[in-house]
Symmetry: C2
Subunit: 131 residues, 2 copies
């Protein structure tokens, strides 16, 4: 596992954190804290939920992962921090990435004095499995 790669995160690299980073690296499944806990626990049986949450919070604050507001029941995390959008199944809540750059700008008269930061588009539908 390329520890080097994580140096730039500027957070202390402990074995638990490396295990979480390794699980997230290249992961396309948008896991919840519980998903991550369960996966990493196999390797570190003493892993605690608090460590998972602390690490995710640190990574989010460093801009390394995105916290998704898609599932009202729980937070989900997106390790892919290139700009992209999501296609979500309204039945099973599964999420698929959409790597397409939509040329979309908010007309100046509608910004209501906001300093704009970004945008996010969610498409809703029913996935193949749920049909």
């Amino acid at each position: 596992m390329p520890v080097q790669k994580y140096r730039s995160l500027q957070i202390k690299l402990t074995p638990q954190r490396l295990a979480i980073l390794s699980y997230l690296n290249g992961n396309k499944t948008h896991p919840s804290a519980e998903d991550i806990y369960k996966a990493v626990q196999k390797q570190y049986p003493t892993m605690s939920f608090a460590t998972v949450y602390n690490t995710l919070e640190a990574l989010r604050d460093k801009g390394n992962i995105r916290e998704l507001k898609i599932d009202p029941a729980k937070k989900r995390y997106d390790p892919d921090n290139t700009p992209h959008h999501h296609l979500i199944c309204v039945k099973c809540n599964c999420i698929v990435d959409i790597h397409e750059d939509f040329d979309l700008n908010l007309p100046g008269k509608l910004t209501r004095g906001f300093d704009l930061i970004g945008k996010s588009i969610e498409f809703y539908g029913i996935c193949r499995k749920c049909k």
Copy 2:
């Protein structure tokens, strides 16, 4: 209050429900369950949280309100069920409606076998107050 207007909802119209509907009618603030509870409690001191949730669930299932997934800490409800998007302050979580029809289509090759239902665009920024 136009009780007539709510007949089409096909739900039993009790005083508590009418109070909730009246609070929601024309409301542009995207309230949480707690906001609604607090507001309606003034009129009905015996109102319970369960009634608020039950009513919101019924209204949502009838398509009369939208449940917003914008705030990870709590559900928020949008009484405006005409198609529109949102502009959200990342600091105070305030939400402003954007009534602009963006011509936005997901290319067929990206649908991954989903039956598409709809889309939702969120713009993020910092509002005038929070600057």
